[in-house]
């Protein structure tokens, strides 16, 4: 064993060690609209490990494990910050219309879709080059964005049209519009790609859409002003934040019925599920509250920056 071998071995070990650390634990990227930054939370320790300054009033987030990047919409500086997940630094800022809010990344990490609120369109960006590659006209006040697991379809909530636009990703145009409830803001697709859920803020309910039939097959009552939604990994449980109820609703997604509504925190907005834990972003409290996914029991609270939103896919689960 030479010195060189030893050196190589130790660097290899160090590399394996840090990689194992990074791959072992999920991270949450929480947009803070009042402090203009993103809190990065290590969910193994429930502690903020980095605070990343971004553009003005960040709201939407799309973490792409495939692209190894997090994309953050800044509605007031009218751009999207691109964060490198390996370094937690902003590596690019992309101009994005006049009011970017909702955002989602394709499952393969190649495209990013941004709803341009004031201009009624969805902007398409190349996630590698950070160049805009398209703009697709949609309905009024486009808010939440979701991408089908196949990557073939993109769904956008047209808030002021009470509809969801179905975009053919390859053709770059709207293929269908589905009428939903009153004032849809967030949309989320299930992992199997069979169901789409639209949250109707003024209807206090959730429209369940059969993706193949492009039709609403059920409407489920939740709490006041449903805002964010997340599904368990197996797609059987849907968790919805009720902004004006300070609560979350737990839904049996296999049978389209509500199971329980439990207290969460002040103005809950973004939400994510990982294993047995539900992460709720609490706008009023400047915190993320962690709940037990089985019964909604509170487990812990993690302070974030100010006016935290976390609107979108904010979990990074390294593979």
């Amino acid at each position: 064993m030479t010195w060189m071998h030893l050196f190589r071995l130790s660097t290899a070990l160090a590399w394996v060690g840090s990689a194992a650390l990074a791959w072992g634990a999920p991270f949450a990227y929480i947009t803070n609209q009042g402090s203009h930054d993103v809190s990065v939370i290590d969910l193994a320790t429930d502690a903020v490990v980095a605070t990343v300054p971004v553009g003005k009033a960040p709201a939407g987030i799309a973490v792409s494990a495939a692209a190894r990047k997090a994309f953050v919409t800044n509605p007031e500086s009218k751009n999207v910050s691109v964060i490198d997940l390996a370094t937690n630094r902003v590596i690019e800022t992309m101009a994005a219309g006049d009011g970017p809010v909702g955002i989602a990344a394709a499952p393969d990490g190649k495209q990013v879709y941004v709803a341009d609120w004031f201009n009624n369109r969805v902007l398409v960006f190349d996630a590698q080059t950070h160049r805009q590659t398209g703009a697709i006209a949609v309905g009024k006040a486009p808010a939440g964005v979701a991408v089908h697991p196949s990557g073939a379809w993109v769904y956008v909530a047209n808030r002021d049209d009470n509809s969801v636009a179905v975009i053919d990703a390859r053709a770059g145009r709207v293929a269908a519009e589905i009428a939903v409830g009153n004032h849809p803001f967030a949309v989320v697709a299930n992992p199997a790609g069979t169901r789409l859920y639209a949250l109707n803020v003024l209807g206090d309910d959730v429209s369940v859409i059969d993706i193949e039939r492009r039709a609403v097959i059920a409407t489920i009552a939740v709490g006041k002003a449903p805002y964010g939604a997340a599904l368990s990994a197996d797609g059987t449980r849907l968790f919805v934040t009720n902004q004006h109820g300070d609560s979350i609703s737990i839904i049996d997604a296999s049978h389209n019925r509500g199971l329980a509504t439990v207290p969460a925190c002040g103005y809950p907005e973004g939400i994510a599920v990982h294993g047995q834990r539900v992460y709720v972003v609490c706008w009023m409290d400047d915190a993320v509250t962690v709940l037990d996914a089985r019964d909604g029991r509170p487990l812990t609270t993690i302070p974030t920056g100010r006016n935290s939103r976390g609107f979108g896919q904010f979990l990074w689960v390294p593979d």
Partner: protein, 172 residues
Amino acid sequence: MRALLAAAILIGASTLALAHGPTRQKVTETATIKAAPDAVWNKVKDFNGMAAWHPAVEGSTATDGSKEGSVRTLSLKGGGQMVETLEGYSDAERKFSYRAKDGGALPVSNYTSTLTVKAGDGGTSLVEWRGAFYRAYPNNNPPPGQDDDAAVKAITGVYQSGLANLKKIMEK
């Protein structure tokens, strides 16, 4: 197709005023009052009784008292009014939440508010008043007086003056 697109853009532009900008603001003000929580709650719990403790409120009418869904109209000293709907009410938790019909006399929109009386240390009360709202101007580039700062300042003023007066009344 081009004409259709132009028409769509026109329709879009005409409805912009109905939308609000994407950045919600918030204000939380608290006051510690040397009085029992139940006594403080008794003073503030009437949804139609704000004139009894808020110095800026001159009069109040309500469609259904303190029942959820009741709509109160506050007339303010110096003119102007606020129309607010009671959205949630809990005697047990000593709190109620309401939503303003529009900004009314305040430079805000889409305004919701919650007033809570909690138990403080040593028999005192902790009154928390919190609001969530957007600025009055719904689009980009708001004029002065209709921007985020003006909205935050106005709500902060309402809460601070109300809580200060409530403290004065209860600690008399």
